[in-house]
């Protein structure tokens, strides 16, 4: 999905929501800021995550970063291709670089996410 049509969390996850399932990845801004990614620890399919829970860890040369659940629910799919092709996160963050799909338990938090212009504004401020 084009980045303009996605929703964003303050912690730089993007969300595409359709038919009760949220597809989640991390934004191009986040990948750029992390740089030199070397490892991702994907969660197990079937795991239930709470809102804002860390469900995935990503390591760069520099540091480890958590990826937080922008919605609560059950993980129904993970992108198994990522661990051996981390460059996908930078090359195609909004399509092939998706990380997990979560069957959303409660749709209310989706309304709290930022739209693209609001997210762009936040990134511009962070970049200073």
């Amino acid at each position: 999905m084009p980045p303009e049509q996605l929703k964003y969390a303050k912690t730089h996850e993007w969300v595409a929501f359709a038919d009760g399932v949220a597809t989640i990845g991390i934004s191009a801004f986040a990948v750029e800021a992390l740089t030199d990614l070397v490892f991702i620890e994907l969660p197990e399919v079937g795991r239930t995550v709470a809102l804002d829970e860390s469900f995935c860890e990503i390591e760069s040369v520099k540091a480890v970063s958590d990826i937080y659940a922008p919605v609560a629910g059950e993980i129904v799919a993970v992108n198994d291709a990522l661990p051996d092709a981390l460059e996908t996160l930078g090359d195609d963050p909004y399509e092939a670089g998706w990380i997990v799909k979560i069957k959303v338990a409660d749709e209310a938090p989706l309304a709290e996410l930022m739209d693209h212009p609001a997210y762009e504004k936040m990134c511009a401020e962070e970049a200073h």
């Binding site: 030199d36 070397v38 520099k62 480890v64």
Partner: protein, 356 residues
């Protein structure tokens, strides 16, 4: 940019891996002006340093440089430093230059001042008067030789001298050039007046880019020194770690000498129970980080002090302090990374040695 001991410094200019590899294959430029620089002169400068440093410096000839440590009475490291024997401008006597870690600046200044009482020695803190640029990599010498007018190729490692930097419209800028560094590569560190530093830096960047090099930030400085097995103060060295257990016995000379911490270091040399510094090669691709526990079977045997993903070896490497019974090369250990055990093998340090 991050705050580093009060200095605003770049973590990276671009990709850490690219900066690392440029240093290993061509040349990297490091703004290390944050390192503290002190000049000691007067007849007691040598005796003062001899009474505090773990190695002799009084025997250095002008132009020689030596790595040594300041320790406390218990043998713990106050700092690791480079001591330079130098000709001091406006003085007939030889003096000493010291390059000290930025984080230990105030501590070492106070330590020197305390022990200088009653001695005929002047301690001049010239940190802010000069900048310092490290030029490191296999192409460093050929890059600097034509622009420094000092027959750089004849410099031996750990020697230095005054040189004139001149390139394009810049210079001549009088600087002190030493064949030293913190990357495991050949190269130089250049100390020049602070008000000329930007011009020298920009000229060096232009030169470096002609051979595929460029500026390198703090993050790659860390991955480079880790591969080279060099300790970083605050990680592999602290006031409760002595240089013997850090594997720095080469930098401790006890023979016929008295200095602060000497007796404790003599005892440390005979202590076969204290934790020792080791290198670890981790299985998989996930780096261990500072603070991760090291396990031997189900026993906790130590702690990681630095860990990263090595761009040269394309795998995670770490340094740790472990019990001597877990420290033998080839020993299979494990590291607890955020609750998950990852296999790790003890490897000799340094991990990386440049081809001679």
């Amino acid at each position: 940019m991050v705050d580093f001991s009060g200095w605003s410094m770049p973590v990276q200019y671009g990709s850490i891996v690219a900066e690392h590899q440029a240093t290993r294959s061509a040349v990297g430029l490091f703004d290390v002006s944050h390192m503290s620089r002190m000049l000691l002169s007067g007849p007691d400068a040598g005796p003062l340093l001899e009474s505090l440093l773990t190695r002799r410096v009084g025997d250095l000839s002008p132009g020689q440089v030596r790595y040594a440590l300041f320790c406390n009475e218990a043998g713990g490291a106050l700092d690791d430093v480079l001591a330079y024997r130098v000709e001091v401008p406006s003085s007939d006597l030889l003096g000493y230059g010291l390059v000290v870690n930025a984080g230990n600046h105030a501590k070492i200044a106070a330590h020197l001042a305390q022990h200088a009482a009653g001695r005929d020695v002047a301690i001049d803190d010239v940190t802010e008067r000069y900048a310092m640029i490290a030029v490191q990599g296999p192409k460093a010498i050929e890059l600097l030789d034509p622009v420094t007018e000092c027959e750089l190729t004849s410099f031996r490692y750990y020697t230095g001298r005054v040189a004139n930097f001149r390139h394009g419209g810049v210079g001549p800028v009088e600087c002190y050039l030493s064949r030293t560094g913190y990357t495991g590569e050949d190269g130089c560190e250049l100390i020049c007046p602070a008000d000329q530093a930007v011009a020298v830096w920009e000229a060096l960047v232009e030169l470096a880019e002609t051979v595929g090099g460029g500026p390198v930030g703090l993050a790659a400085r860390d991955t480079l020194r880790l591969e080279a097995g060099m300790p970083l103060y605050g990680h592999e060295l602290t006031e409760s770690i002595n240089p013997v257990q850090a594997g720095l016995s080469f930098a401790v000379n006890l023979k016929g000498r008295e200095f602060v911490g000497r007796d404790a270091l003599a005892a440390a040399g005979k202590d076969h129970h204290q934790p020792v510094r080791i290198g670890l090669q981790l299985d998989g691709r996930r780096p261990a980080r500072e603070g991760c526990l090291v396990l031997q079977g189900d026993q906790e045997v130590g702690t990681v002090t630095s860990g990263t993903f090595s761009p040269t070896f394309d795998r995670p490497l770490a340094m740790a302090y472990v019990k001597p019974s877990a420290a033998a090369t080839g020993e299979h250990l494990a590291v607890d990374i955020r609750g998950k055990e990852v296999g790790a093998t003890v490897a000799p340090l340094p991990f990386y040695e440049r081809g001679k």
